[in-house]
């Protein structure tokens, strides 16, 4: 089982999500964001970076996070990313499609682009990753896009080419929605994602 550290912002949704026992069982340590700079990450296999972190604190730790990946670590990054800190980051902000499911013949616009991947063959369905999107990424060549929009933007992808490590990057923000008691699919996502992160094939 991989050793997972979660960056913890101290905001209300993160307090709820990462203290939920069924997820906490997979978390070896919650690293309070203001303490990240002074925390030794060498004991961990995975660094889980939730959505909505403070810009100044996040960017101040950018080099440390990239160094963790260059040492072979696994980094997960969630949610919209309006500032540059991911390797080869190409983020396209889009209007959030809150209301797609109210339309006749509703189509979330999401497509499973690699259904054979372990995450989606053994842990999650596309429905578990479907609520709304805040934008898309346009990943570097060689990245493995697992979920995309109909126009090819990446909603969840794995990048093993930009550094020596593995980046699991998604526009989705289940850490926020589960912890704010909204959007039931986000609970199903985390129910599958944490076990995969701990034990699945990356």
């Amino acid at each position: 089982m991989r050793k997972i550290a979660v960056i913890f912002s101290g905001n209300a949704p993160h307090s709820v999500t990462f203290n939920e026992p069924k997820y906490k069982q997979y978390i070896n340590e919650l690293i309070y964001l203001p303490k990240l700079a002074e925390t030794d990450l060498s004991d961990f296999d995975v660094l889980y970076i939730p959505s909505q972190l403070n810009k100044r604190m996040l960017l101040a730790n950018k080099d440390k996070i990239i160094a963790f990946a260059e040492a072979g670590g696994i980094v997960c990054a969630f949610g919209p990313q309006p500032w540059e800190w991911l390797p080869n980051q190409k983020w396209e902000d889009r209007e959030t499609n809150f209301w797609w499911w109210l339309e006749k013949g509703a189509d979330s616009g999401l497509r499973l682009t690699n259904p054979q991947h372990d995450l989606f063959s053994n842990y999650l369905t596309l429905a578990d990753a479907t609520w709304h999107q805040h934008g898309v990424f346009w990943p570097v060549d060689g990245a493995d896009v697992l979920v995309s929009t109909v126009d090819g933007g990446a909603v969840l992808y794995v990048d093993k080419v930009s550094t020596n490590g593995t980046w699991i990057i998604t526009t989705l923000d289940p850490d926020y929605h589960f912890g704010s008691y909204f959007m039931p699919a986000t609970e199903r996502f985390l129910d599958g994602f944490f076990p995969w992160l701990a034990n699945g094939q990356l």
């Binding site: 709820v16 964001l33 810009k55 008691y181």
Partner: protein
Amino acid sequence: MKDLLFIDPGHAFGVDNWHDPFMQQHFHFIDMYELEHTDLTPFKAIIVHDFVDQIHLKAHQHIIENYLNAGNIIVWSGHLTESWLPGCAPFTPKTIVQFSDYNISFVQPHPVFDGVTTDDMTLNKGVAGFFARGAHLPIPPHAESLLTLPDGFVTTYIDRHSTRGTIFVHAGRDLFAQRNQNKTTDRIHTQLLQWIYDEHAAIGGRHDA
């Protein structure tokens, strides 16, 4: 010098506030980690956003208490998970069985919600649940209840007794974000702004009496 302070979580969803004319016209923004380095004496009110680091506020709760006891106002919108705000109980989510469990009701008329309909608070494009999904229970003794969910879940109240200042609590997203949606809830942000100024003047009278 602006006389209202906005504690900015510096989060991705907050980027729009950095460029919004209303927010920039009325509020002095500081990064939330600058609170303990900021002279609060020029400010009549501090607006605390739902994405704020509550561990940090808890570590500096004496600043909050001193600020309130100097006769000032805190407006808190969010779910309290750390005990940094005087009199405010931890957030309790409401058990949702049916959509009507999200229905917002008025307890009494109040200028912040003048002309705002309960339907517009309860529903966003026909979908319930955006406005509030729980409450801080129990509310402080003698607090003024403004809005509730069913079963006595007071989502929004004013507390003039826990300190010598005034605490406005809303168990939901930032009330100043209630704008530009083309419904009656668009009235909330300007009415809350006016209430802050009226209330701050009244606090002075309260203590002079």
